[in-house]
């Protein structure tokens, strides 16, 4: 029988519980589970395990509404990352995760450790990471500190990803004042593993050794998980010392060492130490395996002298993993980690007690039954309030103040549409030698799978991240639907078969009914789209309390989509070449509500966002993909932000080639035709439109010939001829000018 730990004096315990973020009724449950007051270490364990960040207590009831199954799904949500079958005996393993709060406090390290954390979630399952993507939302550059945040986040992502040698191949960036005090940094990693060698986190085997590998433990980031579960206030700057420092060099060694050990059969279970480090990894591994776990913290590799059990259990030092090994395999495993100059320590063993027992300096510092820690964890169905519907705007009632030429010039240089080259020029997108479509070249990144090549194949993954927060704010359900549909569309536009998504739900304070209403509605929309498009959710992350001084961000359910191409050579890009017919697939009605034209040219952010007709989405996309796979499509681009003319301009700028265009459809105001954001549309460039139009008609897919490529300008039938070179200047100038070192 273990000697119970020394409890805190009851008043002190209650006071600390509140400081650690436990609500009074949650603290009552702690007392009931333990039958006594907790020790400091125990209180730390409960507070981080029951934080929003680790427990998903506000979001779990809603997340259950998402479809998570398909014949190609191997592991859905609940593991470190989602796993899907991509053929050739291989699996793609992927997930997206937020590092919003740390990135605002210390942009470089916050973003860097975000990349490091998501990489570990993927390689802990046995995958070699092959690509990183990032979904970023910044405030306006003129907002206080924002340029520093943008610069630091970009440098941090590059600094980490470039060093570990995983190409950063895609992502997205939005700017909006709603993120002035709370930018979003969502990092996604995709990895590849043999599908019969996936490593899971459920511990098994009473007596088996618990092994710690990686960097030493210091006092970094203590209570990071609870910080990520609280609103920002002006004194967040004070919290700076809790930010963790990333070491991508050690991460690279950790990847190589783990993969080397994984090639043996010595590992029973493995998990990275992410938020709440040793606490969450040990509790979750033992909990999932229905076993007990006993840790001796004296054996934890330590970077600083005199660390307490509480500090070690809550440290968020980076680049650490926890493993359960088969008995007797310690020496073999230690040799691999020592070869890679990494720490390796046996710090405990599995027990049959169903409890986590933590010993330090001869004392028991914590002794908690694991089952109630999970089953009694708080779960809230918080009150929701529906977002009021906005009126559908009538395009004819909105005059065009400037004409198409001026509008296009302004739009391609606007913050949300300008070239992202300044950012991606700082990310190594080519390392690995498999990047077939890099940032800016296509609607989705395309990376060939080296393991497929080794088997004589040429399979490739297509990857994208998508969300249109202004649509989500106007109508969270349509916005959630649109985010999923756009990811599906971007994968389709390169010719890939969309397989599954990871979601990163970024919202405000869930204790406010209107925020919880946004969350619930976004999930409804996402679920509808996932079901209609056979595009299940296999992993995800929730980030709540994204508010500063009571002001919430736009609801931002960022979607990371993954699709597969059987042959990398089938992929198409968006770059236009001369002498091709341009065909628009999908129906153009001229929807101006929530469009970028409305915001940037008419100065209005209002109206209902464009609806997504999921049946049409599926029909149009399946048609486009099939045509791409015939080989007849020379370029393809989906139409989203900015509408038809912006999409054409993007193709023209990428290829350095103009086009002569047909007049706007009768019955639609010209500005609504060219800049409306109707969903489910693509522009295809083909040698001859006739065959494509006939096939579309046969398939019941709306299609129209829009013009023919050639020349050096976009020549509108109505008049203006817009120089592609001058558009390019406007498109490329914005970010370098904003971020110029003054």
């Amino acid at each position: 029988m273990t000697q119970p730990p020394a409890p805190l004096p009851p008043e002190r315990a209650a006071q600390l519980a509140a400081e650690f973020g436990l609500k009074p009724d949650e603290y009552e449950r702690v007392l009931a589970i333990l039958g006594r007051a907790p020790s400091l270490t125990e209180l730390g364990v409960f507070s981080v395990m029951w934080s929003e960040h680790c427990s998903y207590k506000s979001s779990r009831v809603w997340l259950r509404g998402l479809p998570t199954k398909a014949p190609w799904v191997i592991h859905g949500p609940g593991e470190n990352a989602g796993v899907i079958d991509i053929g050739d005996g291989l699996a793609a393993i992927f997930k997206m995760e937020s590092h919003n709060h740390p990135s605002f406090i210390e942009p470089y390290q916050g973003a860097a450790t975000g990349v490091g954390g998501i990489l570990r979630d993927v390689f802990t399952m046995g995958a070699r990471p092959i690509a990183n993507l990032n979904a970023l939302r910044f405030g306006l550059p003129e907002a206080p500190r924002m340029k520093r945040v943008i610069d630091g986040v970009v440098r941090g992502i590059g600094g980490y990803g470039n060093c570990v040698g995983v190409p950063t191949v895609g992502g997205e960036v939005n700017f909006h004042p709603a993120y002035n005090g709370n930018p979003l940094v969502n990092a996604m990693t995709v990895g590849i593993a043999p599908k019969d060698r996936i490593f899971l986190s459920a511990a098994a085997g009473i007596g088996n050794p618990v092994v710690y590998v990686g960097s030493k433990t210091g006092r970094d980031g203590i209570h990071g998980a609870t910080m990520a579960s609280a609103e920002f206030s002006a004194d967040s700057e004070e919290k700076r010392p809790t930010v963790q420092i990333g070491d991508p060099f050690v991460e690279k060694l950790l990847i190589e060492a783990c993969l080397e050990l994984m090639a043996t059969d010595a590992i029973v279970a493995i998990q990275d130490m992410g938020a709440a480090g040793l606490t969450s990894s040990s509790v979750e591994m033992a909990g999932k395996g229905d076993v007990g776990i006993e840790l001796v913290l004296d054996d934890v590799p330590q970077r600083e002298a005199g660390m307490s059990a509480y500090e070690m259990m809550l440290s968020e030092s980076q680049e650490r993993m926890l493993m359960i090994l088969k008995p007797g395999r310690e020496a073999e495993a230690a040799a691999i980690f020592h070869k890679w100059e990494l720490d390796f320590a046996v710090i405990g063993h599995l027990t049959d007690t169903g409890r986590i027992v933590i010993r330090h300096r001869g004392q028991v510092e914590a002794d908690i039954p694991l089952a109630p820690l999970e089953s009694e964890a708080p779960l809230y169905r918080r009150p929701t309030a529906e977002t009021p519907k906005l009126p559908v705007l009538d395009a004819a009632s909105i005059p065009d103040p400037v004409g198409p030429e001026a509008a296009l010039g302004k739009l391609v240089g606007s913050l949300d549409l300008c070239s992202r080259r300044w950012i991606w020029d700082q990310y190594d997108s080519m390392v690995g030698g498999q990047t077939a479509r890099r940032p800016g070249a296509a609607d989705a990144a395309v990376v060939r799978v080296e393991e497929s090549l080794e088997k004589g194949g040429a399979r490739a993954l297509a990857m994208t991240t998508d969300c249109t927060p202004r649509y989500c704010a106007a109508d969270p359900e349509e916005g959630g639907k649109q985010a999923v549909a756009e990811a599906w569309r971007n994968l389709t536009a390169v010719g890939a078969r969309p397989l599954a998504i990871t979601d990163n739900m970024n919202f405000g304070n869930p204790e406010k009914p209107e925020i919880m209403g946004q969350f619930a509605a976004a999930i409804r929309g996402m679920a509808a789209a996932c079901t209609a498009l056979d595009f299940p959710v296999v992993s995800g992350n929730v980030s709540l309390y994204n508010e500063t001084e009571g002001r919430a961000i736009l609801p931002t359910p960022a979607i990371g989509g993954v699709g597969v191409l059987e042959k990398v050579g089938q992929a198409v890009g968006l770059s236009l070449a001369p002498g091709l017919d341009l065909v628009v697939i999908g129906e153009t009605k001229g929807w101006l509500g929530q469009s970028l034209w409305l915001r940037e040219i008419a100065g209005r952010e209002d109206g209902a966002p464009p609806p997504v007709d999921l049946a049409a989405e599926r029909r149009n996309g399946d048609f486009v993909r099939a045509r791409i796979l015939t080989g007849e499509v020379r370029a393809c681009h989906d139409l989203s932000d900015g509408g038809l003319l912006v999409g054409l301009a993007e193709m023209a700028m990428a290829g350095g080639c103009g086009a002569s265009l047909a007049p706007a459809l009768a019955g639609i105001p010209a500005h609504a035709f060219w800049f409306g954001e109707d969903q489910g549309r693509y522009v295809l460039a083909v040698a001859d439109a006739a065959a494509l139009l006939a096939a579309a008609a046969a398939a019941g897919v709306p299609a129209m010939k829009l013009g023919r490529s050639g020349g050096e300008a976009l020549a509108l039938a109505e008049g203006p001829s817009i120089s592609v070179a001058s558009l390019r200047v406007a498109h490329e100038a914005t970010l370098p000018a904003l971020m110029a070192e003054s």
Binding site: N162, C163, G432
Partner: protein, 232 residues
């Protein structure tokens, strides 16, 4: 051609390099560990690949240049062995004194990941035989410290002895300041040893060897090597 690639802690372009060599020679070269003290017998080419050896801490390539295997590489070079150092490998060659000068922080102080074009300054070397003199080829660059520096006397000597292998240029072959993104002295992208058997360059020709990925602009460099040893 019998080639081997050396793996340092933090190396990350070894697989790219292995694929490029495999494409040129038909077989995949072995990886050697930095703690080894000897090179395998009968080696024609040693490759120091790109990456962030030792995290680029202290100075890029500085700690790798002191690792046990580098002693063997220096001896190999002294015996007339061929050595190719790309990116971090070039930095190691400079730190180890196998090539003169040093690679400083990029003039922009930012990591640069983009395509560059290089003009081939001499085509009579084992690394460049399949190019024409004056030919321009495209390659990926991905580095934070690629700004080549040497004092004026050293630069004059290198020019005089014809040891500049590659220069940053426009796609049309003009050597301009705008084409020299990292700020290198005299647009130097690649440098040879006096016996023409050691080449260091910052960009990554190994990323342009496959028509299905990003074209084959870099392939002639590896084919040149394969050819020189097939003929030998």
């Amino acid at each position: 051609m019998k080639a081997a690639i050396i793996l340092f802690p933090g190396t990350n372009r070894e697989r790219d390099m292995a694929l490029a060599l495999q494409r040129a020679t038909g077989h995949r070269p072995p990886l050697l560990w930095h703690r080894d003290t000897e090179l395998p017998a009968g080696l024609d080419l040693v490759v120091l690949p790109g990456g962030f050896s030792y995290g680029d801490y202290l100075r890029c390539g500085a700690m790798a240049a002191q690792s046990p295997i580098m002693r063997a590489v220096k001896e190999f070079a002294a015996r007339g062995g061929h050595v190719l150092g790309v990116c971090n490998g070039f930095q190691m060659l400079a730190e180890a004194g196998l090539l003169p000068g040093a690679l400083l922080r990029n003039a922009s102080l930012r990591f640069l990941s983009m395509d560059c074009h290089m003009r081939v300054e001499r085509a009579d070397t084992p690394f460049t035989g399949r190019f024409q003199r004056g030919q321009v080829f495209r390659a990926t660059m991905a580095h934070g410290d690629g700004n080549y520096f040497a004092d004026a006397a050293t630069l004059d000597r290198l020019e005089g002895e014809g040891l500049v292998a590659l220069r940053y240029a426009t796609p049309q072959g003009e050597v301009t300041a705008a084409a020299n993104r990292n700020g290198s002295a005299r647009n130097i992208a690649g440098l040879l040893s006096p016996n023409l058997r050691v080449l260091g360059l910052m960009p990554h020709p190994e990323n342009q060897v496959d028509p299905e990925i990003d074209g084959t602009d870099g392939l002639p460099l590896f084919e040149s090597l394969a050819e020189s040893f097939a003929a030998a």
